[in-house]
C-alpha cells in the first residue's frame, strides 16, 4: 500500500516491526529483504513517486523535479564541488547511469581489516550480490545500444592495450536514449522504484511518500520509531499533516548526506563524534575530445564502457555524457570560438576519470532547514591522483583516434592536438583548484567499525549507542569503494536486513 501527500490529512499513526527511512538503494533493498522475511515494514520517503511519463528531457527542469536543492547542492571549502542527490521515490538510483559493479574483494578485505569488521566476507556477500543482480536485472548491454561514445573507448583500450569492459547495467529494454540523469523516460532503467519497491509492496509492505522524518523516537536508549511532517510536493513546504510510526527496529537510509543530518538534528548515536565526519566520495572530472568522425555521443547508453586498468591504482575511466547545456559549461573559453566548438557537438565525446579519493570532508546539519553544510577540501594526494588519471584519459582519447582534446584543467593549454602533448598534463604544477571536479557517490559519514570509537555503527549497521537503531546506506562505508556503489549499497543493506530479521 502506498500513501502520498493527498492521502494523509491530520495525523497518521502506524505500528510495524521495522520502519525504514528512505527509498534509495539502501532503504529499498533493506525493506524488501525484511518484508520477504515476513516482517511488517513501513518505508517513509521525503520525495514523491514519479513515473516515467512525468520525466522530462529538459535537464534543468529535471534538476528541479528530481534533485535535492534543485540540483544546486555543492561541497564547499577552498573549492565548490557539485554533488548530486535525488529527492524522489527510488532516490539517486532514479537519476544515475545504471552502472553496476560488485564491491571488489580487495576493497572489502581492506575495510574488514581496517575497521575490524565481522561477518563480511566475499563468500558471504556473494549470494546477496547475486540476488540484487537478479532483482535489478543487471547485465551487459547489447552492442547495438552502446553507441559510438562507448565503442570509441573500447577501441582506445584495444589500441593502447589497457583492460576495458562493457559496464554491467540494471536495465531492461534500454534503447540508449542517453538521458539517464533526467530519469529514464522509457522506464527501462531498473532503479529501485521499479524493482525492489514494487516487490516490497506486493509482499504487503507499506510506503508513505512526501513525508520528511524529523524525529527519531528514543526511550531508555532504545529506538522506538520515527515521526515526520508531510511535505506538499508542489511547494515543498511542510504541511500540518504528520506521520508517526512505532516500530521494533528503526532503519535510517537517507544517504550519506541525509542520514548524518537526521542524527545530528536528533543529537543521537554520536558518542564516537563521527556522525557527519569522514565524508568520502569518488571525485570525478570529465575531458572533452573531438573526433573527425560523427559520434553522436547522446545516441546510445550514457555510460556503457569503462577502462578499469587502473582501479587498483585508485581510478577508473568511464564514458560519460551530459546534455548540451552542461557540455557547454565543460567546453573551455567563451565567445565565437566556444560557440563554434559547440557546433561540433556531434563530433564530441566526454570521458571521465573517477578517483578513489582519500580526502575526508564533513557534513553538518544547519540550524534552519534540512540541507547540510558540506565542507570538502581536496588534498594534494587526491589532486595528484586526479592529474595522473587525467593524463591517462588523454592518452586513451588519443589512442581511440581523437583529433584533439580539451583537458579542462587550469594551467594546461585549453586544447591539445597530439598525444605527445598530453605530457603537459603531467608536467604542470597542479593543485586541487586547477581541476573542475564533481563529487560522486558520497559515503562514509556514519562509518561502520567494530571499534565504537572509530565508527557510528557496527558490522551489521547497528548503532553502537542506541538499541534497535540501524543504518543501511552508503554512509556506513568505511571509505569509497573505488567503483560505482549502488550494488554494494543494496547488498550491504540486505546484510543489515538479515541481521535485523534475526534479532527482533
Amino acid at each position: 500500500m502506498t500513501r502520498t501527500f493527498k492521502d494523509i490529512k491530520g495525523k497518521l499513526s502506524l505500528d510495524c516491526d521495522v520502519v525504514v527511512v528512505g527509498t534509495g538503494a539502501g532503504g529499498a533493498s533493506c525493506a524488501h529483504r525484511l518484508a520477504r522475511a515476513g516482517k511488517s515494514v513501513v518505508i517513509i520517503e521525503e520525495g514523491s513517486p514519479i513515473t516515467p511519463d512525468r520525466f522530462t528531457t529538459d535537464s534543468w527542469a529535471a534538476m528541479r523535479q528530481l534533485y535535492r536543492d534543485g540540483g544546486m547542492r555543492a561541497m564547499g571549502g577552498k573549492m565548490v564541488i557539485p554533488t548530486l542527490q535525488a529527492r524522489v521515490v527510488g532516490g539517486t538510483t532514479v537519476v544515475n547511469s545504471a552502472i553496476c559493479f560488485r564491491l571488489p574483494d580487495d576493497v572489502l578485505d581492506e575495510w574488514v581489516e581496517t575497521e575490524k569488521l565481522e561477518g563480511l566476507t566475499p563468500e558471504g556477500l556473494a549470494p546477496l550480490f547475486e540476488e540484487v543482480e537478479e532483482i535489478a536485472n543487471i547485465s551487459q548491454e547489447d552492442d547495438d545500444y552502446l553507441g559510438m561514445n562507448n565503442l570509441l573507448m573500447q577501441r582506445g583500450c584495444e589500441n593502447i592495450g589497457w583492460k576495458g569492459e562493457k559496464i554491467y547495467r540494471n536495465s531492461r529494454g534500454c534503447r540508449g536514449c542517453g538521458v539517464c540523469m533526467s530519469g529514464c523516460v522509457d522506464g527501462a532503467k531498473m532503479s529501485v522504484d521499479r524493482c525492489f519497491i514494487p516487490r516490497f509492496l506486493e509482499l504487503g509492505g507499506e510506503l508513505v511518500t512526501d513525508c520528511r522524518i524529523e524525529k527519531i523516537l528514543v526511550r531508555n536508549g532504545r529506538a522506538l520509531g520515527v515521526t515526520g511532517t508531510m511535505i506538499d510536493p508542489e511547494s515543498l513546504e511542510p504541511s500540518r499533516s504528520s506521520v508517526e510510526v512505532r516500530a521494533r527496529a528503526t532503519v535510517i537510509a537517507c544517504g550519506a548526506m541525509g542520514t548524518p543530518v537526521l542524527l545530528q538534528k536528533n543529537n543521537l548515536a554520536n558518542s564516537s563524534g563521527l556522525v557527519g565526519r569522514n565524508l568520502c566520495n569518488h571525485t570525478a572530472t570529465g575531458m572533452v575530445g573531438f573526433f573527425k568522425e560523427d559520434v553522436y555521443a547522446w545516441d546510445g547508453v550514457n555510460q556503457g564502457y569503462c577502462c578499469d586498468a587502473f582501479r587498483k591504482d585508485g581510478f577508473i575511466i568511464e564514458v560519460a555524457w551530459a546534455p548540451p547545456d552542461v557540455i557547454g559549461i565543460r567546453l573551455p573559453g567563451f565567445g565565437i570560438r566556444h560557440k563554434d566548438g559547440m557546433a561540433r557537438l556531434k563530433n564530441m565525446v566526454l570521458w571521465g576519470a573517477m578517483i578513489r579519493a582519500k580526502t575526508q570532508g564533513t557534513v553538518k546539519a544547519r540550524k534552519n532547514g534540512w540541507s547540510p553544510a558540506i565542507i570538502y577540501n581536496m588534498t594534494n594526494r587526491d589532486a595528484r591522483l586526479m592529474q595522473i588519471s587525467m593524463k591517462a584519459t588523454a592518452d586513451l582519447l588519443f589512442a581511440a583516434g581523437c583529433e584533439y582534446i580539451c583537458p579542462g584543467i587550469h594551467k594546461v593549454p585549453s586544447e591539445l592536438y597530439r598525444r605527445d602533448k598530453a605530457r603537459l598534463i603531467m608536467e604542470a604544477n597542479l593543485k586541487a583548484e586547477d581541476f573542475s571536479p564533481i563529487g560522486n557517490h558520497p559515503n562514509g559519514t556514519c562509518r561502520m567499525s567494530g571499534d565504537p570509537k572509530r565508527g557510528v555503527v557496527d558490522s551489521y549497521g547497528r548503532s553502537h549507542d542506541i538499541e534497535r537503531l540501524f543504518i543501511a546506506d552508503a554512509s556506513i562505508f568505511p571509505n569509497s569503494p573505488g567503483v560505482n556503489p549502488q550494488v554494494t549499497i543494496m547488498a550491504l543493506a540486505a546484510h543489515v536486513a538479515d541481521h535485523i530479521g534475526q534479532t527482533i
Binding site: 528531457t57 546534455p323 547545456d325 559549461i329 567563451f334
Partner: protein, 150 residues
C-alpha cells in the same frame, strides 16, 4: 531598456516583481553578447532563443538568499573593471573588445573563485541557449526518445 528585461518580464517572483529587473537585465544582455555572440557556425543569436527567459526562470526558482547572492555578484562584476583592467567604467559601458579583455581577466585568473564566476555566468547564460530547439537543430541534436513514434 534591456532586451533581457523585456523578454523575461513575464517571469515573476511570488510578489509579482520580475525575476530580472532592468539593471540586472542589462548586465545579462551584455554578458550574453560576449559569451554567446551572434554569428559563427551556429547562426542563432541569444535573442532568437528562450535564453533570457531561462535566466529569469533560473533566478526565480532559486531560494531568496541564492537569488540575492547572484544578483549582487552580477552587480559587483559590472562595477569592478577598474579593479582588474583599470578602466573607469562599468562592464556594461565598456566596448566589446574591453568587455572581452575583462572576461578573460576573470577566466584566466590565478584565483579559483574568480575563474568560477565565469563558469557560473557561462552556466546561467548558456542553459537556455544550448537547450533551445533552434540551437539543438543546428547542432544536429535529436534525442531518440523524442523522435516521432517513440
Amino acid at each position: 531598456m534591456s532586451r533581457a528585461w523585456e523578454y523575461a518580464a513575464d517571469v515573476t517572483l511570488p510578489g509579482g516583481h520580475p525575476a530580472v529587473g532592468p539593471r540586472v537585465g542589462k548586465i545579462i544582455e551584455q554578458l550574453a553578447g560576449r559569451l554567446i555572440p551572434a554569428g559563427g557556425l551556429i547562426d542563432v543569436s541569444v535573442e532568437e532563443t528562450d535564453a533570457y527567459k531561462a535566466v529569469a526562470r533560473y533566478l526565480r526558482d532559486l531560494d531568496s538568499g541564492s537569488r540575492l547572492g547572484i544578483k549582487a555578484l552580477l552587480l559587483a562584476f559590472d562595477l569592478a573593471p577598474f579593479l582588474f583592467i583599470q578602466r573607469f567604467s562599468r562592464f556594461t559601458r565598456l566596448s566589446p573588445q574591453e568587455q572581452e579583455l575583462y572576461l578573460h581577466d576573470w577566466s584566466d585568473s590565478r584565483l579559483y573563485y574568480r575563474r568560477m564566476v565565469v563558469v557560473l555566468l557561462k552556466t546561467i547564460i548558456g542553459l537556455g541557449f544550448y537547450n533551445d530547439p533552434l540551437v539543438l537543430e543546428k547542432m544536429d541534436f535529436h534525442l531518440k526518445c523524442e523522435e516521432a513514434g517513440s
